[in-house]
């Protein structure tokens, strides 16, 4: 048996085994990745956290309560900014009322008070109300996304998605 032939054999052996393992590994990897993909469902049955809140010209300066009961959001237009304010008191989670005469939100449970901007100024509330992400769709409609929350004390109210310039 000559040297050359032996080495050829070895190479042959090497290549078949390589192909086999590479293919086997790739296939197993593919199958595993499918199992991983399987863990992400294609549809979601969770309640809607986004809604279309009309068009910017629907709003006048001040607090708009039309989405308060359905979606838990006040639409506030203040100093050229339109933002979606959460209606959950930061104290114990009650739902404050908007008092148009006094220009403030007042929580009926423990008396927390907030300015129109959502910043707390009286009562036990520890921090301002939260704002939700607000965007303009290509159709010119306002989209409010309640999954994204912007908090004043975190300095997030400057985030471009936390308000709409109108």
């Amino acid at each position: 048996m000559s040297e050359a032939r032996q080495s050829l054999n070895r190479r042959e052996f090497f290549s078949y085994l390589t192909v086999a393992w590479v293919a086997f590994g790739a296939a197993c990897g593919g199958m595993l990745s499918l199992a991983f993909r399987y863990s992400y469902p294609n549809v979601n049955f969770e309640p809607e956290m986004e809604f279309i809140a009309g068009t910017p010209d629907m709003y006048e300066e001040g607090v708009d309560e039309r989405y308060k009961n359905g979606m838990g959001v006040w639409m506030v237009k203040l100093e050229g900014k339109l933002f979606a304010l959460s209606n959950i008191c930061t104290h114990l989670g009650c739902i404050p009322n908007w008092l148009p005469a006094e220009l403030k939100f007042k929580c009926p449970c423990h008396g927390s008070g907030y300015y129109m901007s959502g910043i707390n100024f009286e009562g036990p509330a520890p921090r301002p109300l939260e704002r939700y992400a607000i965007n303009l769709t290509p159709e010119g409609k306002i989209k409010v996304d309640k999954t994204k929350v912007y908090r004043w004390e975190k300095g997030q109210w400057d985030h471009p998605n936390s308000y709409l310039e109108v």
Partner: protein, 944 residues
């Protein structure tokens, strides 16, 4: 054979080769799995939709581009350059402001920290102090002092904060002012281009670039895909899974992408916009997509997305079927309890949510079908839940012997249409399954026996009036004018009858061949004398009028029918049928013995009784001896959910093998299922033939397939609120007495108005907002004491045989329909201001009210209601609304408008203020109006 290494069973090389081969195969299969999972038909549809959207958006973009004034933009840009120069010159000042801003910023931040610290101190000390108070601790004074101090510091800090904030704002404004030229132009440019920029952004999103490919590539298409299954979860509409009701899920919008978006009406399906967005699916429609979904109305398997057929799409017609087979490889879906409804039958689904109402606005076909069901009285023989309150469709036969003669009866029953082509009574005999002589002879025996039986049961009745002869022409005119045609078609006036299409009463055809003139005059004069619970009202006709109308109706003859002589009963046939009945529970011999015991008359009556039961005559007609018997036909309440396998299609291959196909075929010819099938006489299908038109059958089918057993949760169905419930109850009474045959109620029906197309004012008054117009007590009184209001009308408001409850129901219905309070206190209306009354009279004169409303003011013929009675009848707020714009309430009314566009024709009275003028006139009417209500003896057209 190659020599192997010791201890080896196989050659390693060979093992490796097999391993390699299998692994590569495995890898290929893995790829296949990926592709199989990834390629789904709806993705192709969504890609197509994206293209369409792109085209639309591009068109929009071009439009938006056009709208931008290019020259203005150009000039603005030029101005911008100049403004920038101007602002640049103020660089130093700006920088100075910016420095100041930094300082304030720092102060603000430092203060915020201090403020926050103090805030938390105050909160903590407050709590500590409260605790100390509670436990009465010795150190509470110390804590209180600290609390006070902190509060003071906090207040000071707060003031400083406000100050800094104010400074910050001021500086910001200062800076803005320094840059104002640039900023204002910037803003202007932005306002011009916003729309375009937004659309451009949207167009960008429809492009299929590398990011699009990445987002939708296999394996990572869970991250944030653009192609995805869209769904609506309907918590208030459920699927019946038999052990449990589960929220319905509709994924139709996965392919029908634009169904709720206007602007895609011109696209082919599935990319089309819903054709009726205002009523259905639209965001502001009463049935928004998110809460109504798709399959709620259309049926089908809304949760499936992967195959056109499995969704249970159903073609509208053969043509579409062919198209679908070619395009989508469509076939009839298997094992699906309720496939999609044909588009033309979608309205059937309204019924499952809109229950307990007589009329569903917008459901044209369905309403027509339900009207036809009412017309032909299907509910008489077939129980349908929600129709229980309806009257028996046919007239009572309890006093029939005094109304018509037996010969007529037999010929009529044999073939109603041969007497009256408009007869609603269906035909039982001479049908495809019982026309053989052996059946005919038995049928003849049955009809004879039924006649004998019914005559035997019939109670005596003697007309209270005698026909004395009358003027036929006048009679005809009266028939046409008085209002008969709101309920009856009339022979000799076919054209107008067809136009009105009345069906509440029989079409008056050949009446002279049918009834006795004495009976007729009695009936016309006082309908409830013959039948206590009749809905036929009295028109308060004089004896002369009654005789005239009767004279006309007696001229309507069907000579041919009169000539018919009904065959005598074949007694053998009679006995043989009877034997069949008797032997059902007895031996042949026993039955024979029983029969033998019966006399000839007894046998006939027995067969009559059995036949009435067999054909279910009692289901539509009151016949003594059949009280409380269940209707003859199967219940239709859940007909639309009956499994297809429970429908017998017989040998009728040409009938479409669907629920609606069967029902329609059945309606058109109920006996067709017997064709070619050998059945004994007693088992022959008995559903009679109504000789329906294609259209009638089609609409009735829609109404019937809507009767499903789906249980929509309470939250999902249209729930009538208290007001709507009262209105619906009222509408049931209104329908029962066919008020809508004459009166149009807020746009609904008013059939007879077809006769007055030329001048609606000649027809029965349209009741638009009637509850607002009239006072309730007046209305209640009026329904029982009808008196003429409009002097020019020839058509008459008849006097109905209403119970007190029915009257109240009608009155409250109108009240709630117009959302009115029960009563307006009449005594508080008149409250004259100084000089107002004189002004009112002056207006009265100027507007010449008395030229039409003459009653009590002059002796001209009145051409408008007597206003002396207005005080009791009309509500002041309605009078005002009416005066202000009569056309708004009753389009086409002859009442003139004196305040066109809020301009008074008498500018010098009461300052020409329409409100004050109308107010004064209203008060005037109340002032001179009488409290008395007209009675039988009142002269309606004089001053009271």
């Amino acid at each position: 054979m190659k020599k192997l290494e010791p201890g080896m069973a196989y050659d390693t090389n060979k093992l490796n080769k097999i391993f390699a081969f299998l692994s590569v195969l495995f890898l290929m299969i893995t790829v296949w799995v990926f592709l199989d999972d990834y390629i789904r038909p709806w993705k192709a549809v969504q890609l197509e939709a994206m293209q369409i959207k792109k085209q639309k958006l591009q068109a929009k973009l071009e439009e938006a581009e056009k709208e931008i004034n290019k020259d203005k933009l150009e000039s603005l840009k030029k101005k911008m350059a100049e403004a920038e120069k101007v602002v640049a010159e103020r660089r130093k000042e700006i920088r100075k402001v910016e420095k100041e801003q930094t300082v304030v910023q720092k102060k603000l931040k430092a203060e915020t920290i201090l403020n926050g610290t103090l805030n938390s101190q105050v909160a903590a000390y407050t709590f500590k102090y409260e605790q100390a108070q509670l436990k009465n601790k010795s150190n509470k004074a110390v804590i209180f002092a600290k609390l006070k101090e902190n509060k003071k510091l906090f207040a000071e800090s707060k003031d400083r904060m406000k100050e800094y904030q104010f400074q910050k704002k001021a500086l910001f404004k200062k800076k803005e002012k320094l840059q104002k030229e640039v900023l204002s132009i910037e803003r202007e440019i932005k306002s011009m281009t916003t729309t375009r920029d937004l659309i451009a952004k949207a167009v960008e999103k429809t492009k299929m670039g590398p990011i699009f490919a990445l987002r939708n590539s296999p394996l990572i298409d869970y991250l944030d895909p653009t192609l995805k299954i869209e769904q609506i979860v309907l918590d208030n509409i459920t699927d019946d899974r038999y052990f449990q009701h589960v929220p319905r899920v509709d994924r139709c919008i996965t392919c029908h992408t634009f169904i709720d978006q206007p602007g895609y009406e011109d696209q082919p399906n599935p990319h089309k916009t819903h054709p009726n967005l205002d009523l259905m699916v639209g965001k502001d429609s009463p049935h928004p997509m998110k809460s109504t979904g798709c399959t709620t109305c259309h049926g089908g398997e809304g949760h499936r997305v992967n195959d056109f057929t499995s969704v249970a799409h159903w073609p509208q017609n053969e043509e579409q079927k062919k198209e679908w087979i070619e395009k989508y490889d469509w076939h009839e879906p298997h094992r699906i309890p309720s496939p999609m409804l044909k588009v033309s039958q979608t309205e059937a689904s309204c019924v499952k949510c809109h229950q307990g109402v007589e009329f569903i606005p917008g459901a044209t076909v369905l309403n027509e079908g339900r009207r036809n069901i009412e017309k032909y009285g299907c509910y008489g023989c077939h129980k349908i839940e929600g129709w229980e309150h309806k009257r028996m469709p046919g007239p009572s036969l309890q006093k029939i012997a005094s109304k018509i003669d037996k010969e007529f009866f037999k010929n009529w029953v044999w073939d109603p249409k041969s007497f009256n082509p408009h007869a609603m009574m269906p035909r039982f005999f001479g049908q495809s399954n019982n026309s053989q002589p052996k059946h005919m002879v038995k049928n003849v025996a049955e009809v004879n026996a039924m006649a004998e039986f019914i005559w035997d049961k019939s109670k005596a009745y003697k007309p209270f009036m005698k026909y004395t002869g009358g003027d036929v022409e006048r009679g005809k005119e009266l028939t046409a004018q008085v209002g008969c045609m709101g309920c009856h078609g009339v022979q000799g006036m076919e054209e107008i009858s067809d136009k009105i299409g009345a069906y509440a009463g029989p079409y008056l055809y050949g009446t002279g061949s049918k009834v006795d003139p004495d009976w007729l005059v009695s009936w016309l004069k006082k309908p409830d004398h013959y039948q206590e619970d009749t809905i036929m009202p009295s028109f308060r006709l004089t004896d002369r009028e009654v005789n005239d109308i009767a004279a006309y109706l007696m001229t309507l003859r069907n000579k041919k029918f009169e000539g018919y002589r009904f065959e005598e009963m074949d007694k053998e046939a009679r006995d043989s049928i009877l034997m069949g009945y008797l032997s059902a529970f007895d031996t042949e011999e026993g039955a024979r013995a029983k029969l033998a015991k019966m006399s000839d008359r007894e046998r006939t009556l027995e067969l009559g009784y059995r036949s009435v039961g067999k054909y279910g005559c009692y289901s539509c007609h009151n016949i003594d001896g059949f009280e409380g018997r269940a209707p003859i036909g199967p219940e239709l309440t859940h007909e639309g959910s009956k499994p297809l396998t429970q429908f017998g299609f017989g040998l009728q291959k040409q009938v479409e093998h669907t629920r609606d196909g069967w029902i329609k075929a059945h309606l058109l010819d109920p006996r067709r299922w017997d064709i070619g099938i050998d059945k004994p006489f007693k088992d022959l299908t008995r559903m009679p033939n109504f000789y329906l038109t294609e259209r009638e059958a089609e609409t009735m089918t829609v109404a019937i397939i809507g009767q499903v057993n789906e249980k929509i949760p309470l939250k999902g169905v249209k729930r009538l609120n208290a007001n709507e419930k009262i209105v619906e109850d009222g509408m049931k009474v209104v329908n029962k007495f066919n008020c809508i045959g004459c009166h149009q109620i807020d746009g609904y029906r008013g059939d007879i108005l077809a006769k007055y197309e030329d001048d609606l004012n000649e027809g029965p008054p349209r009741l638009n907002g009637e509850g607002h117009r009239v006072q309730l007590d007046w209305f209640h009184y009026f329904l029982d004491n009808v008196y003429p209001i409009r002097p020019w009308l020839k058509v008459r408001m008849p006097s109905y045989n209403l119970t007190d409850k029915e009257r109240n129901t009608i009155v409250t219905m109108f009240q709630y329909k117009a959302e009115q309070k029960a009563l307006v206190d009449r005594s508080k209306v008149v409250d004259w201001q100084p000089g107002e009354k004189e002004a009112a009279w002056k207006l009265w004169e100027e507007m010449a009210c008395a030229s039409c409303h003459t009653a009590g003011f002059n002796n001209d013929d009145p051409s408008a209601p007597n206003l002396y009675f207005a005080r009791r009848r009309l509500r002041p707020s309605w009078i005002k609304k009416w005066l202000y714009d009569p056309q708004a309430i009753l389009p086409g009314t002859l009442m003139p408008n004196f305040w066109v566009d809020g301009e008074s024709t008498s500018p010098d009275i009461l300052g020409g203020d329409p409100e004050r003028q109308i107010d004064a006139l209203t008060k005037l009417m109340y002032d001179f109006g009488t409290e008395k209500l007209p009675t039988k003896n009142t002269n309606y057209w004089s001053k009271q």
